[in-house]
């Protein structure tokens, strides 16, 4: 293998691919070959860098220069200037808030600087299709350590010491969960990876599977060894074709190296791993439903106990963890549980990956130590609110989570602190809302989702969420009644307490938290028939400011409903009965005389 003086890493994650990174990759390879530089510069396709919005992302090492929104047309200049002459192409540099003159190292960019990457440590740094690159980054060292130096009990102890808790939402201590399954009698046990990432707005599992699939597999191997399982399943959403492709390749490579299969590392430990494609049902993220789906049945949850640790897949003891949880395990075994436990808060250890999206300047994946505040994530890492608007709320934890306000910005994030204020960690979706987002509409949006995904087995979830949604729809249409709020609270509390599984038990959270923190918005919808954010179409009014209107007639000409009248050079008026609230007039107005209220 030759020595390369420079490596050019180009993101091959789903986000960057859809922004055209494959074309950039081809252009780079072709351009370097034409210049005869393909022997000295290596082009590597990596997993997600987490900063999807700025994609396609290209990082040039050893300098660590971070280029964003690179197109195939930029490639010749990149090769000629940077790779040949060593001159940074300034116009493609990530600028952020800083000056263009100083070119920061990749890791010095504010988006990355505050991050602490453990689960994501290899994402965007290695070629996920190469087991050798994973090994070069200490991959499979934890497996060798466990199999040659540690008893299964010692592995579980190490995970217990680390304080790692389930990253899929529940936050149950991972080591403890493993010990239940390990103690369960039976010669056949299963370990399962929950990769049915269903929370809208969360994509850390996809990025991990695409960017560092070997870490997930190694984590599962360690768990299987610790619990005495010899077979495993990765249950992955069918909507993630690239992740599935990478996983298949990963399993082939690990099998070739003898890290999967019979007598791993010459020991008595054998492990076989399968991939199951999900078929599109949110409730399958619940562990008993997921197992029903692997068995080929309707993915409906069942009451627990018996817990999967005793009676799981095909009635055998089983352990389910999600992608991010598994991906943390190799680092914990390699560096020791104490190392991991040194990060985070008293009860929530280590780091957590958040998918930062919505009305924020830098969207993407963010891994920070537990205890980081929401303010640090949204304003320092995320660079604040888009278009200089006002921060209004942040929705944490997906459809099961809650909406928090500016008063919660300084809460150090942990499982406990979030549940205290009515939200949950969930899988780590963090959706930022600004003043234009209506909180009633947001609550309705989440409930539409959970309502549609309710499997229908238990009445509180099936009927209750339907009733809540009816009420919310009525409120958004301006037909709400004062007693609706009490009914929502009553229903919400009842559904939380009586539903069979986590989906129903958490479905009312978005409604209950918005009722708690944004009650005035609900009241405005009901009492004043007004949507303060101007988001609920049926409550929106478009009004022409007579002082500003210059009578140009543009609005009247674009109005599809002929609702606007007025003489040339005279202020115009909108007939509210005819108006269909399409907003075309506001867009057409050259002097911004039309207000949306």
């Amino acid at each position: 293998m030759g020595l390369y003086r420079s490596h050019v890493l180009i993101c091959g994650g789903t986000g960057c691919v859809s922004s055209g990174s494959l074309e950039v990759l081809e252009a780079l390879k072709k351009g370097l070959a034409e210049k005869g530089m393909d022997k000295e510069i290596l082009v590597v396709s990596t997993g997600c860098h987490g900063m999807c919005e700025m994609g396609p992302i290209v990082v040039v090492y050893p300098e660590g220069t971070f280029y964003c929104r690179v197109t195939a047309a930029d490639v010749p200049e990149l090769i000629e200037e940077h790779l040949y002459k060593g001159r940074v192409v300034e116009r493609l540099i990530y600028k952020g808030e800083g000056k263009a003159s100083d070119v920061p190292h990749y890791t010095e960019i504010p988006f990355y600087k505050k991050q602490h990457r453990i689960a994501l440590r290899n994402c965007g740094y290695i070629n996920p299709d190469s087991i050798d690159e994973y090994i070069a980054r200490d991959g499979y060292a934890a497996l060798v350590k466990a199999l040659t130096e540690m008893t299964p009990e010692a592995v579980i102890e190490e995970v217990k010491t680390s304080g790692l808790r389930g990253r899929g939402g529940g936050g149950f201590p991972t080591g403890l969960k493993w010990s239940f399954c390990a103690r369960s009698a039976g010669d056949k046990k299963y370990v399962i990876c929950n990769a049915d990432e269903g929370d809208p707005g969360a994509f850390m599992d996809r990025s991990l599977l695409e960017g560092d699939p070997h870490a997930v597999v190694e984590g599962m191997l360690l768990g299987a060894y610790a619990m005495g399982a010899n077979e495993g399943y990765i249950y992955c959403r069918a909507e993630y074709p690239l992740a599935i492709k990478r996983l298949k390749r990963t399993i082939e490579q690990a099998t070739e190296y003898g890290l999967l299969g019979e007598h791993i590392l010459g020991t008595d430990f054998s492990f076989e791993l399968h991939i199951k494609e999900g078929a599109g049902a949110f409730v399958c993220g619940e562990e008993t439903a997921l197992m029903a789906s692997i068995e080929g049945r309707r993915g409906m949850p069942r009451p627990r106990p018996p817990f999967p640790a005793n009676k799981g897949l095909w009635g055998k003891p089983s352990n389910i963890n999600n992608v991010e949880t598994w991906a943390n395990v190799p680092s914990i075994i390699r560096n020791g549980g104490e190392w991991y436990a040194a990060m985070g808060t008293e009860k929530s250890k280590g780091t957590k990956v958040f998918a930062l999206t919505g009305k924020v300047n830098h969207t993407g994946l963010v891994e920070v130590p537990m205890g980081t505040t929401i303010r640090e994530i949204v304003f320092e890492i995320g660079g604040g609110i888009l278009n200089g608007k006002k921060f209004k709320a942040v929705q944490i934890g997906g459809p099961s989570g809650g909406c928090l306000t500016k008063d919660h910005l300084d809460i150090p994030i942990s499982y406990e602190s979030l549940s205290q204020v009515g939200a949950i960690m969930g899988s780590g979706g963090l959706v930022v809302m600004d003043e234009d987002n209506c909180m009633v509409d947001v609550a309705k949006f989440f409930l539409e989702f959970t309502q549609a995904e309710s499997c229908g087995k238990c009445p509180p979830c099936r009927e209750g969420t339907k009733k809540m949604l009816d009420i919310l729809t009525r409120i958004c249409a301006g037909k709400g009644k004062p007693e609706d709020l009490e009914a929502l609270e009553y229903l919400g509390t009842m559904i939380k307490e009586t539903s069979l599984c986590g989906l129903g038990q958490t479905a009312p959270n978005p409604v209950l938290t918005t009722l708690r923190y944004f009650r005035d918005e609900y009241e405005a919808h009901i009492n004043e028939k007004r949507c303060p954010a101007g988001a609920c179409t049926e409550l929106t009014r478009f009004i022409i400011d007579a002082d500003k209107c210059i009578g140009c007639t543009k609005c009247a000409r674009v109005c599809p409903a002929d609702a606007i009248t007025g003489a040339v050079k005279q202020p115009h008026v909108i007939d509210q009965d005819k108006c269909v609230k399409c907003g075309a007039c506001a867009e057409a107005c050259p002097v911004k005389a039309i207000d949306r209220r």
Binding site: M1, G2, Y4, R5, P62, G86, S130, D132, I135
Partner: protein, 123 residues
């Protein structure tokens, strides 16, 4: 494909693949070659190729090779800078491919500056 049986097997793969990701961090020692138009005209590409060949021959890891634009001392091109450990940046001038093995052996490996080629020192 040989199966991995022991820690040594794994280490062997790791050693042989360090090159794969080694260039993705700045090495302990950095060699920086001036690749401005003047540098290229004076033969900087040949110097760089000599550097790569020498590093490869010696199997040196943890050395990063970077390029940079013109720094304004065109009369002394090709320019080659070495930053050894945390020490100051030494600039060598009028470097030819023949000088490269000596600079690498003396400065990069043994930490002794090759005085007769030095034209500058910056902290």
């Amino acid at each position: 494909m040989p199966k991995i049986k022991t820690l040594d097997d794994l280490k062997k793969i790791k050693e042989s693949t360090m090159d794969l990701t080694g260039a993705r961090s700045q090495g302990k020692t950095r060699i920086i070659i001036g690749m401005g138009t003047c540098g290229i005209a004076a033969g900087a590409r040949a110097v760089m190729e000599a550097v790569m060949a020498e590093l490869s021959r010696r199997g040196l890891k943890d050395v990063s090779v970077e390029t940079t634009g013109c720094i304004g001392m065109c009369q002394d091109e090709p320019l080659l800078d070495v930053i050894h450990g945390g020490e100051s940046r030494i600039t060598y001038g009028k470097v030819g491919p023949d000088d490269v093995p000596r600079i690498i052996a003396e400065h990069v490996v043994n930490g002794r500056v090759v005085e007769d080629k030095v034209i500058g020192r910056t902290d």
